[in-house]
Subunit: 263 residues, 2 copies
DNA sequence: TTCTTTGTGG
DNA sequence: CCACAAAGAA
């Protein structure tokens, strides 16, 4: 059987809120080392990878590897019934066709159980290469969310350019264009507001803002978002979940349409 | 004539907000002992009973018994024009065809008057038997509201089971099923959060969540909701209005469909 | 506090 | 089937 208890149930609520707009249904894979998910979004453009380590749970038991297919809209409905301060226990029998979510209020006065029917989902388990990246930018998650939201009001794509000591986000649209630049700033006094850049080579890549906006739904999970970029590779947008794991998103860059540049 | 002044006008506002979704028009009955209403909801499934005692009013005068038919949507419109801290005076001449609502701001700086046309409504005055109940559950009103709201996202009906020291709310739906259990807990330190169970016999009854959700609109009137259940009898959901009276709702249980159980 | 979402009434 | 209002989310 599989059984895992998360003292901070709010984490699970936030994770599901962050990915449910991107993915309709997904397999959650459980093994002795933890609880994870990998899935392409519905339009097969971006990829979501969640991993929660076994040791991030208050209690974790997984007798044999299982893959549990869930409809994320249903899962979200159920998790909305948990209070933010509830502890959440997930439980599933081997070969069972449901997963049980138990919510316990801090004083244990109220105990709720929700059984979610599992479903069979074909999933192509994509191996994600563990790349070295040309540039890594760590910036406050709220700031990243604000930037992609603001730029979305102007254009559809964003060009992210990273240089040694600044990252620039630029877009162009019908009404004009916009550029937002964030300087490196290792604010030691306010670590939550630091912006750090680690670079091997300057890169400049263009992405669809629509997906970055979806990724930014993970903002409540972490103080910082980490962007990793390499020429011609998908961007990796990572949210570290303190003590427990991480939620990561991959999105391929827009290839410059060179038709207009040919002579 | 009839004249009654309620210092806490907010009470009247809340009462009308709580019942206007259930009832379109109703007769308000006034006599020397108080102000009351009894009506079936529009679909003739549930029953609403309001009573405000004469001594709950700052001033109360009722020369002869009158029954005043009002359209609740209109009454609600009018009461929305009162501030929460206004005192409300209701006034109606005997044989008059209107009722006047006077709103006075706490400093008497602002005084408003609204006349509402009365209407003739046939009302079957149902005698409500004053039953002894098998089980009484008193729980925080907000918690009851939350439970019926959460369960509504999963299913259409709820099975309420009361045992000596806990009350269980269960439902089943397409995506799975749910159970919420509240333990008895006479929290002496936080009386507003206490859950108390008084039981003669364990009961388990099933109700349409839709109506319970409507009943829960009365939540702002009281810290606690009181559920009274007996086998095969309608559930009574009561909200005590401190110092003034009570708002009660009755709903018949779903009879188990035994077709599927016949051999 | 504002906006989006959902349920209800016409 | 459409529009409004109340409720929840940001």
């Amino acid at each position: 059987m599989f059984e895992a208890r998360l003292a901070q149930g709010a984490l699970l609520k936030k994770v599901v809120e962050a990915i449910k707009d991107l993915i309709e249904d997904a397999n959650f894979d459980c093994n002795s080392s933890g609880f994870s998910l990998q899935a392409m979004d519905s339009s097969h453009v971006s990829l979501v990878a969640l991993s929660l380590r076994a040791d991030g749970f208050e209690h974790y038991r997984c007798d044999r590897n299982v893959s549990m297919g869930m409809k994320l809209a249903s899962l979200s409905k159920i998790l909305k019934c948990a209070n933010g301060d509830d502890a959440i226990t997930m439980k599933s029998e081997d070969n069972g066709d449901t997963i049980t979510f138990m919510f316990e209020s801090p004083e244990q006065e109220r105990l709720s159980e929700f059984d979610l029917k599992l479903m069979d989902i074909d999933s192509e388990h994509l191996g994600i290469p563990d790349n070295e990246y040309d540039a890594t930018v760590k910036l406050p998650a709220a700031e990243f969310q604000r930037i992609v939201k603001d730029l979305s009001t102007i254009g559809d794509t964003v060009e992210i350019s990273v240089t040694k000591d600044a990252v620039k986000f630029g877009t162009t649209g019908d009404i004009g264009n916009a550029n937002i630049m964030c300087r490196q700033n290792k604010a030691a006094d306010k670590p939550d507001e630091s912006t750090e850049i680690d670079i091997n080579e300057a890169v400049s890549l263009t992405f669809a803002l629509r997906y970055l906006n979806s990724f930014a739904k993970a903002t409540p999970l972490s103080t910082h978002a980490v962007l990793k970029l390499s020429k011609e590779l998908p961007i990796l947008v990572e949210y570290h979940i303190p003590e427990v794991g991480r939620l990561a998103f991959y999105l391929a860059p827009k290839i410059e349409d060179e038709d207009s540049m040919r002579d």
